[in-house]
């Protein structure tokens, strides 16, 4: 299947000389939920802004459903809805007016019934005649989502949809995203929260310092997450892994005082019993044991540290 968005060798250096993106390549598949994960200043907003036409790339090309975003901007942009990170709204307008405006701006004929549906889905219907400045932050976030959905986009960008949002609203937001995907919309969201990526995404991309350092199926990441480590403190330090134990996935800790065994908790057999049997037969005793599990957080921190 052709990617719905294809980012090729996109780089961005701002006028200030700051390099925000260094040669990013990324394909987004149709109807997936893609989470872009990264610390502050990683370049998430920059990447999204370039795809949406708000920032000019320094180099590289982007296609959306086969259309070049620079040359064929009308075709591309009418497919895309964007919910920005900042709560930028027309403060003095009513919810209804601003959402209807968005639909018109994207070239769609008026359709009050559809706008009503969007507002109802986002629990904004009773606020439709309120001025935006009178709404709470979470409600403003919903208004921005309504604006982005007003023209029935096939692709939705959510730049930190749950920043500054309480647990309740966050759950709502996740439900909304899932419903959209069920309706055939491709969703790309950015987040600082690993649980969010874990909860929502089909695939996760990790970006830091302008580099996309990892793109992976979430299940694959979860698989890594499912790995556990068994550390066996030995009675006598070893110089090398004895021949009797090489069949096992073992590592000798620095100094030789411990053996580290990595196993998969999801597998039918962890191999722990076999290992312990082999150790007893080889006469290797241990005085203590501990197990540990690496979280997505650990993987993430590890990746970010290694890329420094």
């Amino acid at each position: 299947m052709n990617p719905i968005i294809s980012v090729k060798d996109v780089a961005k250096t701002y006028a200030s000389g700051h390099v925000a993106l260094k040669t990013v390549n990324l394909d987004i598949r149709e109807r997936e939920i893609f989470a872009l994960l990264g610390p502050n200043g990683a370049g998430k907003t920059t990447l999204i802004s370039i795809i949406c036409g708000i920032v000019n790339p320094t180099s590289g090309t982007i296609t959306v459903d086969g259309h070049d975003v620079a040359r064929d901007y009308r075709a591309c942009r009418s497919m895309i809805g964007l919910v920005p990170q900042e709560l930028s709204t027309e403060m003095f307008e009513t919810v209804w007016a601003t959402v209807s405006f968005s639909r018109g701006l994207f070239g769609k004929k008026k359709n009050p019934a559809f706008i009503e549906k969007v507002l109802r889905d986002l629990s904004l219907w009773d606020k439709k005649d309120s001025r935006i400045m009178t709404l709470s932050g979470g409600m403003k976030r919903r208004v921005l989502i309504a604006k982005a959905l007003a023209h029935e986009p096939r692709i939705l960008f959510l730049d930190e949809p749950t920043a500054g949002v309480d647990v309740e609203l966050r759950k709502d937001m996740w439900d909304i995203v899932r419903e959209l995907r069920a309706g055939g919309v491709t969703v790309i969201l950015t987040t600082h929260y690993i649980e969010e990526a874990e909860e929502m995404a089909d695939r996760v991309g990790v970006i830091t310092k302008g580099e996309l350092i990892l793109v992976q199926e979430k299940t694959e990441l979860m698989h890594k997450l499912g790995k556990k480590q068994l550390t066996l403190e030995l009675q006598q330090p070893l110089a090398a892994i004895p021949p009797a134990l090489v069949a096992h996935k073992l590592e000798l800790a620095p100094g030789g005082g411990a053996l580290v065994f990595t196993y998969d908790t999801h597998a039918d057999r962890t191999g722990i019993t076999a290992l312990l049997n082999d150790m007893r037969e080889a006469g290797i005793g241990f005085k203590d044991l501990a197990t540990s599990q690496s979280s997505l957080e650990d993987i993430f921190v590890d990746l970010v540290r290694h890329s420094k």
Binding site: R74, S78, S88
Partner: protein, 253 residues
């Protein structure tokens, strides 16, 4: 052509104007009327006539011009500055809409407001002084042309400005003085020769005289030159707007 988008921007801008109807119509109408009363009645009783036209009537075209220039400029500049300031410009930039359509929406709305205001003030003026319009079509032509040109000019200011105070600087410190010195209240023939020559470098002289000619068929300058100057300034503004969108100046990082 994204007609829906132009319509959306245009109606959105007109609605914004409608909400503040009191200050947006009443205040220019009121201040211009005050000029008629103060200058037309008080001073007019002493000056009596210029070029065979009663003083009160003579100043009407210039005063409408003054209002047209300042209102067009500040209206259009605010229209585009505010989305930049509030950050809502992201939507404009991410929409399937061309620079031409953005300009049509914003400048079209600003120019419409100015033309409406101009006609209201003209109607108000006719209550105070006898007005004769010799060339109604030319009068409307100058009115629309000036409104469009200075709305474009305002759009440029709105993109250039990086603070609310800068929006006021040009209308207050450039346009108003130039209009006052451009023969709103007098015929430049009344000036000493040296100042007559200096005044001819003020582009607003041509706008006022072109407009006044369409009323009373009197002008201090050649009417073709007046029209040419207006069209020239329109061309300069169009070029500047084209450059803004080509380079993304102050709207796109």
């Amino acid at each position: 052509m994204n007609v829906e988008a132009v319509r959306a921007i245009y109606t959105f801008e007109m609605a914004r104007w409608g909400r503040t109807l009191m200050q947006s119509i009443l205040s220019p109408v009121l201040s211009t009327s005050l000029y008629f009363i103060v200058f037309g009645a008080a001073i007019g009783s002493r000056i009596t006539q210029i070029d065979g036209i009663s003083y009160g009537a003579f100043i009407v075209p210039g005063l409408i011009m003054l209002m047209l220039l300042t209102e067009s400029t500040s209206n259009a500049s605010f229209g585009i500055y505010f989305p930049r300031f509030a950050g809502t410009i992201y939507e404009l930039l991410s929409a399937p809409i061309s620079p031409l359509e953005i300009v049509l929406g914003y400048v079209g709305a600003a120019a419409t407001k100015s033309v409406i205001l101009g006609l209201i003030i003209l109607a108000t003026a006719s209550l105070f002084v006898p007005i004769r319009i010799a060339h109604p079509v030319w009068m409307l032509g100058f009115l629309v042309l000036t409104a469009v040109t200075f709305s474009l000019f305002g759009f440029i200011i709105g993109v250039w400005a990086d603070g609310f105070e800068k929006l006021q600087v040009i209308p207050m410190l450039v346009l108003t003085p130039l209009t006052f010195l451009g023969g709103t209240f007098y015929s430049i023939k009344m000036l000493p020769p040296f100042w007559q020559t200096v005044t001819l470098f003020n582009p607003i002289v041509y706008l006022i005289n072109g407009f006044r000619w369409s009323f009373y068929e009197v002008s201090d300058v050649n009417i073709a030159v007046a029209l040419g100057m207006t069209l020239g300034f329109l061309a300069v503004c169009l070029l500047a707007v084209w450059w803004i969108f080509k380079t993304g100046y102050r709207i796109k990082a």
